[in-house]
Amino acid sequence: MNAWLTQHGKALTWALRRLTAAPVNTLLSLLAIGVALALPAGGQMLLGNALQFARSTGNDNATPQISLFLSLNADRKAADGIAARLRNLANAKDVRFVSRDDALKRMQAGEGLAEVIAALPKNPFPDAFVVKPRDESPAAIEKMRDEISRWAKVEHVQLDSTWVRRLDAMLRLGRTGVALLTLLLGLGLVAITFTTIRLQILSQRAEIEVSRLLGAAESFIRRPYYYFGALQGLAGGAVAWLIVMGMTGVLSGPVAEVALLYNTSVTLTPLAALDAMLLLVLAGGLGWLGAALSLGQHTQV
């Protein structure tokens, strides 16, 4: 165990020394990896913010919600019953009651409508509920609508499903784009590592040959290069993260201006911690993979 730790420690320090031995080369490699990974990571960040922005533009339609209208003959007791049932729904996040009197008052306040309403013999508005769902996927919302519309005393259930569907499709498009970028630029990272490891192997030919003659196992010879690849990937991932943080900083001013024009107070949130972690793990892993491919090609006996 101790010898094993020593060997890994040595491989790690070797890799660090090699990385710092040629700072300009290392810096350029890291920048290449960083820029490549900043694209999908930045995309992920913008996607998260776009969603938040769409939600907060103040437009009621931006948050999917279900409106249900009770029949006119439903009394207060029936409305209370419906309210309780709604609150018991697993997918209901928020239930708001709009009584028929409230609806009437609000309409009377509306310009030009007061006279029309005054001309009516009685209050034409039913009691209503506005429900905000927890799961905003179209399928979940439609399922909820179908369930509610089967209840007694419920006259009509209205759901702005086109908006929900549009938002959902846009998000899917964005996610697919980010996934494609990740795939392509991940391949780029593997290629970059492949080449840098190849150069390292070529410059260490003598050491590899002598080590083999002195009884070094393949794992001993390859281990430092795996560390090199993984470290380079990890550091490149960190550079990508810094780039995205910088992007967030630069964009937050203009975003705030746009938000002001839309009457909201959206601020650009940086890449989520989980996404940042994923970025680093992915970068390190892909570096390791590039090293493995390069070792397979370039250290054959």
Partner: protein, 220 residues
């Protein structure tokens, strides 16, 4: 300890570097391997360290068939051998101490024990004072002695040396030969490919002579 049975090593196109070579070396012997340049001395040593494989016949070390060994087993075989190469194969980007440390690092020695052993090996070849020197700063004789220190640092039971005194002036060659005598006296089995038979004659128990890949009579 070492046995060759009808060993042939053929290089394309049909050139026999070694042809039907048989001999055996007992434990503790110091054996000289002679013959003209290109007679197959280096090839023979390479077969022992599994750097090359025989085209025919059997190479045995301690009863183990080296020629048929699986690739994964070869590193462990080499760790039991001390190898002194014709071109020394020192690493010029590390100092004397680090060069001698390499076999121990490969074998996974604890750093503290390893450092002690490295200093003992350097002391044995008279280079203890120069442990920080880079190989380029060492004379030819010192480089050769450094290569020997690296070969013996893991205390192998078998030491194989390819022309260890070539390119050395007579005085330096004598010093190097004395080092081999020393190892012979503590019971190491030694096989030396050399032209300088006289240097090692005092300790040698066998002289194997190769002639165009064939073994000539081997007088004791």
């Amino acid at each position: 300890m070492i046995r060759f049975e009808h060993v042939t090593r053929r290089y394309p196109p049909g050139i026999d570097a070694l042809a039907n070579v048989s001999f055996s070396i007992e434990s503790g012997e110091l054996v000289l391997l002679g013959g003209h340049s290109g007679a197959g001395k280096t090839t023979l040593l390479k077969l022992l360290a599994a750097i090359e494989r025989p085209s025919g016949g059997t190479v045995l070390i301690n009863g183990q068939n080296v020629g048929a060994m699986k690739r994964a087993g070869i590193p462990y075989l080499r760790r039991k051998l001390g190898l002194v190469f014709q071109d020394q194969k020192l690493l010029f980007d590390r100092n004397a101490f680090e060069n001698v440390m390499l076999p121990l690092a490969i074998a996974g020695f604890a750093p503290k024990d390893a450092a002690k052993r490295v200093r003992a090996a350097l002391d044995k070849v008279g280079l203890l004072a120069r442990e920080k020197a880079m190989p380029i700063a060492l004379s030819g004789g010192e480089q050769q002695r450094l290569a020997i220190a690296r070969a013996v640092v893991s205390r192998p039971a078998i030491l194989l040396a390819d022309e260890p005194t070539a390119h050395l002036d007579p005085e330096t060659a004598k010093d190097v030969a004395a080092i081999f005598h020393g190892f012979h006296q503590v019971g190491v089995t030694i096989l030396i490919a050399t032209y300088d038979d006289e240097l090692f004659a005092a300790s040698a128990s066998q002289r194997l002579i190769l002639n165009h890949g064939r073994m000539e009579s081997a007088p004791a």
